[in-house]
């Protein structure tokens, strides 16, 4: 979901902005825990008269909630959030600006500034996700953004874009990719904020908020889940929030599938009496069996 593109000034040129990211209102209202990490991030972004804001790097395993933390900070600080997704094919110019054929008959091309440059111009937050997946040479353009210069030079625009006072930057990487981040960038991404696995109580709260339709049984189902997890994870490793949400979503689907008739209905279904693919309402109650089946499917890889 995004906000409408705007034509904005980029140096002396006019360019189209990137879309700001606005998470769905449902997920915005349900942030749980992570108060310490939010404090660390807030402290990094407080700027003083003589002190520039810092550019933190969030490090953590996939699914622990790094992005969610940034969305929450955007909400709490009331700023627009611009997300740049890192991947191996990002070029240095992608970080600044691209062009497209114009819809306006009087022009041939339009400049479209990247989420980073849009945030720099409008005073929003730029979040580079998976920064460790971007190749080192593509990141070179970031150097001047992250140090006291706070500007970016775009070759395509032939312009220097200075950052707005309100501009804030944050990047995130999975723990496994941190060592692929070149030192000239890593040394500028401070503080390093490690995002660990959430506590069980926090995961339970998140599940309870996201699966309200099963509220009456969730305590029992969560207990079933943790029992299965403890048996499965002998080394004491904890699941990520994403893992548990996926598991409950799958268990919900399995319960809906059963309510729609399950295997027997699917076998006899045809064009005259098709198998319904939409579960438009809460059809049946999720049970421990569904949790067990979803667990087997997602974590142990063996399903009957």
């Amino acid at each position: 979901m995004g906000r409408e593109q705007l034509e904005i000034g980029a140096g002396k040129k006019r360019a189209w902005s990137s879309d700001a990211y606005i998470p769905s209102p449902g997920s915005f209202g349900s942030f749980v825990g992570r108060e310490e990490e939010l404090k660390l991030l807030t402290a990094a972004w407080i700027a003083g008269k003589n002190a520039l804001p810092l550019s933190p790097l969030l490090i953590g395993e996939p699914g622990v909630g790094k992005n969610r933390l940034v969305y929450e900070m955007a909400r709490r600080t009331g700023r627009d959030l611009y997300i740049f997704q890192g991947h191996e094919d990002v070029t240095s110019e992608d970080l600044a600006c691209s062009v497209r054929f114009s819809d306006n008959d009087s022009k041939i091309m339009d400049y479209v500034v990247s989420p980073l440059v849009t945030a720099m111009i409008t005073g929003g937050i730029c979040f580079i996700d998976e920064i460790g997946k971007i190749r080192p040479r593509a990141l070179a353009l970031l150097v001047s953004v992250l140090d006291e210069r706070r500007y970016i030079d775009s070759i395509l625009l032939s312009e220097r874009v200075e950052a707005h006072r309100g501009f804030r930057f944050v990047a995130a990487t999975n723990t496994g990719d941190i060592n692929y981040l070149p030192e000239f960038i890593r040394s500028r991404l401070r503080p390093l904020i490690k995002i660990g696995y959430p506590k069980r109580e926090e995961i339970n709260s998140i599940i309870k908020r996201q699966f309200l339709s099963h509220a009456d049984k969730l305590d029992e189902l969560l207990r079933d889940f943790w029992d299965l997890w403890d048996k499965h994870s002998e080394d004491g490793r904890e699941p990520s929030t994403r893992d548990v949400i996926h598991l409950f979503a799958l268990a919900t689907s399995l319960s809906d599938y059963d309510a729609l008739g399950g295997n027997s209905t699917l076998k006899t279904a045809d064009s005259k009496s098709p198998f319904p693919l939409e579960a438009t309402k809460r059809l049946c109650s999720i049970t421990s069996d569904h949790i067990r089946m979803a667990f087997t499917e997602l974590f142990t890889g063996q399903i009957d």
């Binding site: 310490e36 402290a43 407080i46 810092l54 941190i178 060592n179 040394s187 004491g236």
Partner: protein, 792 residues
């Protein structure tokens, strides 16, 4: 002195010091109240059970606290007692647990009890000088007045909500105002199920004390969170005085507390406890007031000591010198520290906040320096030698998946000096220690406020040893994580070099977008007036990366500046010797190679500076070297199976093979002779960076990758040899890689292995080296990891 809250009951007056636990500001108030003639009590009551108070009094008197004496307490001593109560909210869970396991709760693993029931089997009460309750008991002994424990002796640990109150240091300015502002705020952390009963008991017991004719002036010291409720209950006539006070059951055992556990109960950092301990002044005394602690000065002074110790004379311009980076980042560190205090509502940074900021902003070495300065308890910590009869309560070893930091409610174990033959005994030197299984520890009184999660990089000099004497080693190998990381970075370098060789073919758009629109070509077209769309197609240029990860090109690492004038040592690392024959598929071919060339299969050549070995590593580690540079000829040789697969897969053409004995020469002279004779490469070992590259050239399939400091240029002789062999030299600047990786690679340890093939290492090595022997292994390609496993 500030006015303390007073309650009048009958002919008696109760003055109170509602406190934040373990904070010297409140201990100071107790001390001043006892020192001042106007408020000096004739009895003291505290928020502890009667047995706890009796145990503390007995022990303090044994230690030498008596009326009229200034005595600096050793730090840190404590008392422990067993817990028996489970929180009422956990009763159902406890029943379920008993049903599921078929056992009584006391038979279950303490770690399971913690996880399922939030139950700590043992609680620790530290004799911390900066805690107001402890100060009150100490004053009672010095004043020779009775001291009463009015709380329940046993209760379940409360389920406490985190609260935000003003920094307790603010109470120094105006104690009364602080209480008014924060009493109701701190109430939010009360657990009504647990604390309600306790407060009722405290009120009844206090009324009993106040009703005694000999007590007209009683001082009560307890937690700030209880104060408003207590005030109400004391004023409530429905709450009758208790008939008697609870008996002393002597259920406490004295212990020596490990500094890592103790420091949570030592104000904002240990030196505050020391300072307070030394300056408090015994009561009664003629001048009741004393200079208050200047906390800001404390922190500033300590930070300056950290900076001096870390930076003075140590900043160099070398790329890998993180000291310079830390120096440049100092302003940001202080800025972040100040901001952290702001968001945590603290006036002065405490140890944990400082460490959190350092951990996030500075190098590991800086964090260690900071921890060492802040943990440096000036008179030294109470040692096991001074208290040999006391068991030590210390942090339990964490397993690999646990978070590395400790916190209140942390995992601990008791360490006893023991008789020989006990189970899981650890022997070191003359002392023998036994460690109990780990359990989670509760605190008395329970601390409030934030739980700060940050590792503390500090070691106690008096740490009871946990190691067995080193076993007899069969072989000395490079510590496997070093090899894992070295080759992980080498593969990463090959990938970076390979990417740099990818190019694009650009052409006008005809039907397919291929790999996307080429913006620059299209723009040029527009400016030419041609207005055509140009697309590009990714192509690999003529030089491609070696695709064979199990037989890659050699990689050279130049860590030090090539101009480094300090001379180093040369050394060879071996893929193996004759024992490789046990793992090859074609033994005849192997024996033929050994017969014709020799059995010294060289996997790497290094130029290094030997470092002095730390005492704790001796017996397990043979040497520790600071690497200036190293050339690795191909695949890692973490064990002999892998060596055999590499050598055999490359048909023994991937590295120098020399005769077993150097024949009167040094190994390096023999190696130079080998290159000169076989490849006509003249190697001048003085020019060490060039030599490392020259060693690699004949074994490169396509090119030699050199990872070197930024701006490094290979010497001309290297280019000449490379041209002669038709190989390319690709130099990759070090800043393309993680500086922490490179720093780790500079330090190479040679460690003892229990078998000749490099499979089994003593388990103690992992704790000595602080990492698993499989660290960094996941960063190696799967094919290379597969080589490590012996085929069955």
């Amino acid at each position: 002195m500030s006015e303390l809250p007073e309650i009048h009951l009958g002919n008696s007056v109760l003055r109170a010091v509602p406190s934040v636990h373990y904070r010297a500001v409140f201990a100071e108030q107790v001390n001043f109240a006892c020192a001042d003639e106007r408020t000096r009590p004739d009895a003291i009551a505290v928020e502890l059970g009667a047995s706890a108070v009796a145990a503390i009094c007995t022990w303090l008197k044994q230690l030498g606290v008596k009326p009229g004496s200034d005595f600096v307490l050793p730090c840190m001593l404590g008392l422990i007692r067993a817990n028996r109560h489970i929180h009422p909210n956990r009763r159902l869970a406890a029943l379920r647990l008993q049903e599921a396991t078929g056992r009584q709760l006391h038979e279950l693993d303490p770690l399971l009890l913690r996880r399922e029931l939030d139950f700590s089997p043992i609680s620790l009460l530290c004799l911390s000088s900066t805690d107001s309750i402890f100060e009150a008991i100490r004053c009672a002994i010095e004043l020779d007045v009775p001291v009463y424990g009015v709380d329940l002796e046993e209760f379940a640990q409360g389920e406490r909500s985190p609260i935000v109150i003003q920094d307790p240091i603010d109470a120094q300015r105006d104690f009364g105002a602080y209480l008014r502002r924060n009493s109701s705020l701190s109430e939010a952390c009360r657990d009504t199920l647990i604390d309600g009963r306790r407060e009722l008991a405290m009120a009844a017991h206090l009324k009993h004390v106040l009703s005694r004719p000999e007590h007209n002036n009683v001082l009560f010291v307890g937690g700030l969170a209880h104060w408003r409720q207590l005030q109400q209950l004391l004023g409530d006539s429905a709450v009758a005085p208790a008939n008697t006070l609870p008996p002393d059951e002597s259920r406490y055992q004295p212990v020596l507390v490990h500094p890592i556990l103790a420091m949570y109960q030592m104000d904002i950092f240990p030196a505050v406890t020391y300072w307070y301990n030394k300056r408090r002044g015994a009561v009664p005394r003629s001048n009741p007031t004393r200079a208050q602690i200047d906390f800001w000065d404390f922190v500033r002074t300590h930070l300056e000591v950290v900076y001096r110790g870390y930076f003075e004379g140590k900043v160099t311009g070398h790329q890998l010198d993180r000291t310079l980076e830390d120096y440049q980042g100092l302003e940001n560190f202080e800025h972040y520290l100040a901001n952290l205090c702001l968001v945590r509502q603290r006036l002065i940074p405490d140890f944990f906040t400082a460490l959190t900021a350092a951990n996030a902003m500075m190098s590991e070495r800086f964090c260690s320096e900071l921890a060492s300065v802040f943990m440096n308890y000036e008179l030294g910590w109470a040692s096991p030698k001074a208290f040999p009869q006391l068991p030590i309560i210390g942090p339990a070893t964490m397993n690999a998946t646990e978070e590395p930091w400790l916190q209140p409610g942390q995992k601990a174990q008791l360490i006893h000096t023991s008789q020989a033959g006990a189970a899981d005994e650890q022997v070191a030197g003359d002392e023998q220690y036994t460690r109990t299984p780990p359990f989670y520890l509760g605190c008395l009184p329970e601390p409030s406020g934030d739980v700060i999660r940050v590792p503390i990089p500090w070691n106690w000099e008096q740490e009871p040893p946990t190691l067995t004497p080193p076993p007899r080693m069969s072989k000395w190998n490079v510590w496997p994580p070093y090899d894992n990381l070295l080759f992980a970075v080498a593969y990463q370098a090959a990938e970076v070099a390979s990417n740099s060789r990818q190019g694009y073919h650009i052409d006008a758009f005809e039907s397919s977008l291929l790999d996307g629109v080429d913006i620059k070509a299209t723009m040029r077209s527009v400016t030419r007036g041609e207005t055509r769309l140009y697309v590009r197609e990714k192509i690999l240029q003529t030089v491609m990366a070696s695709q064979n990860v199990t037989n890659p090109d050699p990689t050279v690492f130049v860590f030090a500046s090539p101009q480094d004038s300090e001379s180093g040592h040369w050394g060879c690392l071996y893929a193996g010797w004759h024992e490789i024959g046990n793992h090859v598929k074609d033994l005849d071919r192997f024996e033929e190679i050994v017969r014709e060339q020799g059995a010294a299969f060289i996997s790497a050549v290094k130029y290094y500076e030997p470092l002095e070995l730390e005492e704790r590593l001796r017996g397990y580690v043979q040497s520790s070297d600071l690497m200036k540079g190293i050339v690795v000829f191909g695949s890692p040789c973490i064990n002999r199976v892998q060596s055999a697969r590499w050598l055999e897969g490359a048909r023994y053409k991937c590295c120098p093979i020399l005769p077993d004995e150097p024949d009167g020469q040094s190994r390096m002279d023999q190696l130079r002779g080998f290159y000169e004779e076989k490849y006509k490469i003249v190697i001048d070992l003085q020019n060490w960076s060039a030599s490392l590259i020259q060693f690699a050239i004949p074994y490169a399939k396509q090119r030699v990758i050199v990872v070197a400091p930024d701006f490094y240029t290979p010497p001309p002789i290297v280019a000449y040899d490379a041209r002669r062999f038709g190989r390319e030299i690709v130099v990759l600047p070090m800043s393309y890689f993680s500086a922490s990786d490179i720093r780790i690679l500079r330090r190479q340890y040679t460690v003892g292995c229990l078998d000749r093939d490099g499979f089994t290492y003593p388990s103690e090595l992992e704790s000595l080296m602080g990492e698993s022997k499989d660290t960094y292994l996941p960063r190696l390609p799967q094919e290379v990891r597969d080589q490590l496993i012996m085929e069955t």
